[in-house]
């Protein structure tokens, strides 16, 4: 099982979920470039100018570890990275688990993504406000100590360690992405986990994903918010397990 965290935090997002599958599966976790313990030098604005660059990273991981029969579990924007990766190399993947997926965040005609372009600019402002204190002085301390995680842990908000500049790019790429066309190309058994009252991926978006991915399973969770893997890990795990047992 390959777990991909979404925009905001790092692989710690999966800490309450992965133990449930550790006995039955090989667990692979990673941090996206710019997040957590990743190598910032690997960041290339061109490569990561859309989600396909991140999807290539997923495929690179599969190749480097020689993974097959992969159950890809992607949260938020990473769900769409899994969709792209699975349409590129379907033979590698046996299942997709999409947690709070959204193929497009910005409204477009009849399609309701939930946000406007101005909203996304507001997010970038919000990021700026929150990174202001340490964007130049603290970033190396916060980001540059992958070998000494205890140092990072002592710092505020250490599970959402992201390089400010990369986070800004990632936010823009994420929330301006449009991968609706890829959904219908998915040929892998797919589970869509939809939260209640999710402001980032509203129920209508989850229903859209379910409708576009042929043969997919949609599970409506009682969990509220956008991170059921943190707020309701038991419910999340049991929905995933039911899907894995069936497929």
């Amino acid at each position: 099982m390959l777990f991909a965290h979404g925009f905001g935090c790092d692989q710690n997002m999966w800490r309450y979920v992965t133990p449930a599958f550790a006995d039955s599966h090989r667990i692979v976790l990673f941090d996206h470039v710019g997040a957590g313990g990743s190598d910032l030098a690997a960041y290339d604005r061109q490569r990561y100018s859309d989600l396909s660059g991140y999807a290539d990273d997923v495929l690179d991981i599969c190749q480097a570890l020689d993974l097959t029969d992969v159950t890809f579990v992607g949260h938020s924007v990473s769900a769409m990275m899994g969709v792209i990766a699975a349409t590129r190399e379907p033979e590698r993947f046996s299942r997709l688990v999409l947690v709070g997926p959204s193929p497009r965040y910005i409204d477009d005609g009849d399609y309701v993504g939930g946000f406007t372009t101005e909203d996304i600019e507001g997010l970038l402002e919000s990021l700026d406000s929150n990174y202001l204190g340490w964007s130049s002085a603290m970033a190396p301390v916060i980001m540059g100590n992958a070998d000494r995680p205890q140092l990072g842990d002592e710092l505020t908000n250490s599970f959402c360690r992201t390089d400010p500049e990369i986070a800004r790019d990632f936010a823009r790429v994420t929330f301006t992405s449009d991968n609706r066309a890829e959904l219908s190309q998915v040929r892998v058994p797919t589970l869509v986990l939809q939260c209640s009252d999710d402001v980032i991926a509203p129920a209508a978006v989850g229903a859209y994903v379910h409708q576009q991915v042929a043969g997919s399973t949609l599970v409506q969770l009682a969990a509220t918010g956008h991170c059921p893997n943190l707020s309701a890990p038991e419910e999340t795990v049991s929905a995933m397990r039911a899907f894995l047992d069936r497929q």
Binding site: G8, C9, N12, M13, L123, E125, I200, C227
Partner: protein
């Protein structure tokens, strides 16, 4: 322990309701269970609007909601606490209130979350200050990146020579440095003085002469000027039509000045190059002598763009009814001076060559001639006289690569005899000459070193390669042959030198 003023004791409720910060209590999913009076007063909500009705995330701006869901909520669940998160609360009247938020997760004895306590601080002034700081830092970073970019433009400008190339660099700089969507450079035409498009986007509207950097109708016009003289205009198309800030004006002025200096230099260069090229071509023979016993094919290529013309020349003229003189030479140096010296030498060869003197004597006379023409000193040349009655040829080389004699069967030999030093460097000794007989159908090739010189191999090897090439072409018709051989010899190589090849065929 607490110490209360006995006259006005503090109540716990008053401490909570009228604390100098907003208090919110919510369920783990964010639904508001309590809000203090301070928060209600700041935001304009009634208690009933919030308690049991709204989740905290719903009070935020859309951008803030995303931040809440992607950063704040996960952190709270993982760490149990978050500190100093900057968000905007939307008040009841729709206005925004910048706040700093601290939250603490409440858990029961078993560790299960049962609620969240949040304090909210009004950060209006602080946010304003931070926004200004951020803007100042962005400006500083922008200025630094502009300085670097302008340095790069200056380096790029120094690396090109002509006005067209300079304008290309300036147009590219407009998009790369200033971030314009499209750009164009217009320069004053040398004749009419009217602006003409030289580089960039042809679809941008033609500019009028701007007196200074101006922005209008989505376009920014920057004068390109040097020493107070207007040379042209840089036209940039922007994605917005906001007024330029002083930093941008200053950047564009710098760009305009750098472009002006480079353009002035480039225009001068173009003028000189054009004069030199014209002069050089005017000095080459317009027509070659015709005789049924004689075939001639010549190829002359001036040095490629970016360098000034050199001083190569060739010539062929009849000494009398039965004898033809052929010469290929190379004046050291470049530009106008070299072209002028070449012209004088060419005339001198024609004037001093005579039926009865022969190559060696001609070189001796040329030695005396170049004594008075410094630019012609150390010129090299190959000279031959062919008798059209019997194919006998006399030749001499003054510091010049050896002629190649090709017989009709394709055997090519280098004529290494009759050699002496370049003109003006022979110091009184007699000049050497040699003789050879051309069989009917044989060809003699004279050329300059631009045809054979290669950086990556010795000159001997290059000359042998040319001889081989000429041997292979022995059966080909003479018409256009010099061009074809030159083409093959140079291949894709761009030479910075003039190239000259003269083929002489004894046709009987």
């Amino acid at each position: 322990m607490t110490v209360d003023d006995p006259l006005t004791p503090e109540s716990a409720e008053d401490l909570y309701e009228n604390a100098p910060c907003g208090y919110l209590s919510t369920l783990p999913d964010g639904r508001i269970t309590r809000a203090n009076q301070t928060f209600l007063a700041w935001t304009g909500y009634h208690r009933d609007d919030l308690v049991g009705q709204r989740r905290f995330v719903e009070l935020l701006t859309p951008g803030g909601r995303i931040y809440h869901e992607t950063h704040y909520a996960p952190l709270l669940q993982m760490q149990g606490t978050v500190r100093a998160i900057a968000l905007d609360v939307v008040r009841a009247d729709g206005t925004r209130m910048p706040v700093l938020v601290n939250s603490q997760l409440r858990v029961d004895p078993a560790g299960t979350p049962i609620g969240v306590r949040t304090t909210v601080f009004d950060a209006t002034d602080r946010r304003q200050y931070e926004t200004e700081l951020l803007a100042a830092r962005r400006r500083a970073e922008q200025a630094t990146s502009w300085v670097r970019a302008v340095e790069q433009v200056v380096a790029d400008l120094a690396a090109v020579a002509g006005a067209a190339e300079v304008s290309e660099v300036v147009a590219r700089a407009g998009t790369a440095v200033f971030g314009a969507r499209r750009s164009a450079v217009w320069l004053a035409d040398a004749g009419t003085g009217l602006l003409q498009l030289v580089a960039g986007d042809a679809d941008l509207p033609a500019p009028a002469w701007p007196a200074e950097v101006i922005a209008e109708d989505g376009l920014v016009l920057t004068p390109i000027e040097a020493r107070g003289r207007a040379l042209g205009v840089l036209v940039l198309e922007r994605s917005n039509d906001e007024p330029l800030d002083p930093d941008e004006v200053s950047l564009l002025q710098t760009l305009g000045r750098q472009a002006g200096q480079a353009t002035e230099r480039a225009l001068l260069y173009d003028e000189q190059r054009s004069v030199a090229t014209t002069l050089q071509h005017s000095l080459l023979p317009r027509t070659l002598p015709t005789d049924p016993r004689l075939g001639l094919s010549a190829c002359y290529r001036p040095a490629v763009e970016g360098l000034e013309v050199g001083g190569d020349w060739y010539d062929a003229f009849l000494l009398d009814a039965d004898r033809v003189a052929v010469v290929v030479g190379d004046v050291v140096g470049r530009g106008l001076a070299a072209a002028a010296a070449m012209g004088q030498l060419r005339s001198a060869v024609r004037a001093l060559a005579a039926v009865d003197s022969g190559p060696a004597l001609l070189l001796a006379r040329l030695d005396r001639f170049v004594d008075g023409v410094p630019a012609a000193e150390t010129a090299t040349l190959a000279y031959a006289e062919l008798d059209l009655r019997d194919g006998k040829a006399r030749y001499a080389c003054a510091g010049h690569p050896p002629p190649v004699l090709v017989d009709p069967g394709g055997d090519a030999v280098l004529l290494w005899e009759g050699r002496s030093a370049p003109l003006g460097a022979h110091f009184g000794r007699d000049r050497a000459e040699a003789a050879v007989t051309m069989v009917p159908g044989a060809r003699l090739a004279l050329y300059t070193d631009g045809l054979v010189e290669r950086r990556d191999e010795p000159l001997d090897t290059s000359i042998d390669r040319l001889a081989g090439l000429l041997g292979q072409s022995a059966a080909q018709p003479l018409d256009g042959l010099a061009d074809r051989v030159t083409e093959t010899a140079l291949g894709t190589r761009r030479t910075g030198d003039d190239v000259c090849l003269l083929l002489v065929a004894f046709e009987v």
